[in-house]
């Protein structure tokens, strides 16, 4: 007779490990399977870590988590071909101990998080790919791995196997992924000596900067780019909707190269040494794309459940939140000595509905569709803003009143008053 675990968790990313940690800390017998050599070895993120969801699991994580920098400054750049208009928010009110967001590198971070879970009692098995779910009639009772005698049995299985979730697709819990529901992101980690990096961005005492960019860099495709400062490196990347990339036939690394060569970006990364190139899909379908996330003996968390708020570049925190809530569901059902059937596991969905995870996804459920149908948000407006400001700021002997009149005339050539009003209303509605 094989050992039967209380819970089997597939995947050791933030979602799986949040679930594993929570379960093991409550005395449950948990086994977690990871296909990589170590947790994090398959994982890619920008990456900004939001403290809140981790804090609920490990309140004193700041003590020893491999955090890179806390974000003291956040910029948004609306980019045109050779210019940008931007906003900057910088505050001295935040410091290492009270900040709500930090830049991280996922490989070391995931490894640390998993170590915490193992200390709490989780049995982690790496270098093991789960091939299939084992079912008895409709009920999931275990998993089959690529190890010899690799069948494992548990009362409940949590799928935390990431955006591609082969398991959920094979089992029919999730339909095949379509190109309009995922973005393809490519990224480089560029190393720069710490002192140069801090001088370049004006950083002291572990302060960090995040720059989000949109506009000409995505060539009209739905997408954004980012630049984050780590301790002694910069994470720079760009992501576009896969359906758009397919339509436009642009190699993703070519977009990344253009971004790196944009006159606004180039001086920030000059002299750096690229030490890694990575790519990953991001589930961007939002609320409408979310699959069934629980059933007879199973639950899905994190990216595998398409839980990403792409508008606010949040994902790994949603993964942690959903992982913790799935674990708490297991704990509650276990306490009642009840079965892990669909009827009882609905509790997980209810918990998610009450949390920020699904509240936020619901808030933005139509955002992508609206932007998708109105590409000029990503092309016309960045151009208008940059060109208008350029002309307004030029001191060239033309009087200000004439300049203003010319600028407005030029704007209205690109987009009519009624068009601008319509856009404003649409955007407002899409974010209500």
């Amino acid at each position: 007779m094989k050992e039967k675990y209380d819970c089997i968790i597939v995947g050791a990313g933030p979602g799986g490990t949040a679930a594993a940690y929570t379960l093991a800390s409550n005395g449950l017998n948990v086994i977690q399977l990871e296909r990589g050599e170590y947790p994090g070895s398959k994982n890619v993120q920008g990456a900004v870590l939001y403290a809140n969801s981790l804090e609920k699991i490990i309140p004193d994580f700041r003590m020893d988590a491999p955090l890179e920098r806390f974000l003291a400054e956040q910029r948004v750049w609306i980019i045109d071909k050779d210019a940008y208009v931007g906003t900057t928010h910088r505050t001295a009110a935040l410091n290492w101990d009270n900040a709500d967001r930090y830049t991280i590198l996922r490989a070391p971070f995931d490894r640390w998080f998993s170590k915490k879970a193992q200390e709490a009692g989780v049995l982690l098995i790496c270098e093991t790919t789960v091939l299939d779910l084992i079912k008895e009639k409709e009920r999931v009772v275990g998993v089959r791995t690529d190890r010899e005698d690799g069948e494992l049995y548990g009362e409940v299985v949590i799928l935390a196997d990431g955006v591609n979730s082969m398991l959920a697709r094979k089992a029919g819990f999730r339909k095949e992924i379509v190109a309009k529901e995922v973005a393809l992101g490519v990224k480089e980690t560029i190393f720069i000596p710490q002192e140069i990096l801090e001088n370049r961005f004006g950083l002291v005492d572990n302060q960090g900067v995040a720059i989000e960019m949109l506009g000409a860099i995505t060539r009209g495709m739905l997408g954004t780019a980012f630049l984050y400062t780590n301790k002694e490196s910069i994470s720079i990347g760009i992501g576009c909707l896969l359906a758009d990339l397919k339509k436009e036939k642009i190699p993703p690394f070519e977009l990344l190269e253009s971004l790196k060569n944009h006159p606004a970006v180039k001086p920030l990364i000059v002299g750096g040494e690229v030490k890694e190139y990575s790519a990953h899909l991001i589930p961007e379908g939002g609320y409408h794309a979310m699959p069934q996330i629980y059933g007879e003996g199973w639950m899905i968390v994190g990216d595998a459940a398409m839980l990403v708020n792409s508008i606010h570049r949040e994902g790994s925190n949603l993964a942690m939140e959903s992982g913790r809530l799935a674990a708490e569901t297991v704990i509650e059902i276990k306490k009642k000595n009840a079965r892990f059937n669909k009827m009882n596991l609905v509790l997980y969905k209810e918990k998610l509905e009450k949390s920020f995870v699904l509240k936020d996804l619901r808030k933005y459920k139509n955002f992508h569709a609206v932007i998708g149908k109105n590409r000029h948000f990503l092309t016309t407006y960045p151009e208008i803003m940059n060109v208008s400001l350029f002309s307004l700021l030029q001191v060239d002997g033309v009087d200000k009143r004439t300049k203003e009149r010319e600028t407005i005339k030029n704007i209205l050539k690109k987009r009519s008053v009624s068009g601008i009003l319509q856009d404003a209303i649409q955007l407002w509605r899409a974010t209500r």
């Binding site: 050599e37 398959k42 994982n43 995931d110 095949e176 393809l184 690394f253 890694e276």
Partner: protein, 94 residues
């Protein structure tokens, strides 16, 4: 022209020699495919097309993103599995 090999050179891999985790199901189908999106969109440049419109696949540099399988939806001509446990891309930073 950017050399994708230069980018991939920085990465750490453990290649499962002789056991590619992605396969093209039917080579003929690719020859007839008009778009051959895989040869453009694969972020690791694993797919190449030659003069005779054949598509070749070398998975050694694969970043395991899953793009190729999704964009091949019309023909469903890609058999995509994760590499065996421990093999494939090993991100140092992620």
């Amino acid at each position: 022209m950017i050399q994708i090999e230069e980018k991939l050179y920085q990465n750490r891999y453990r290649v499962d020699e002789g056991r590619p985790h992605i396969k093209i199901k039917n080579r003929e189908t690719c020859t007839l495919c008009y778009d051959k999106s895989c040869t453009v969109l694969c972020p690791a440049g694993c797919y190449r097309k030659n003069e005779t419109e054949e598509v070749t696949l070398i998975t050694d540099g694969c970043l395991e993103c899953g793009t190729c399988q999704i964009i091949c939806m019309e023909h469903k001509n890609i058999q995509w599995e994760y590499p065996r446990g421990g093999f494939g891309i090993l991100y140092k930073f992620g």
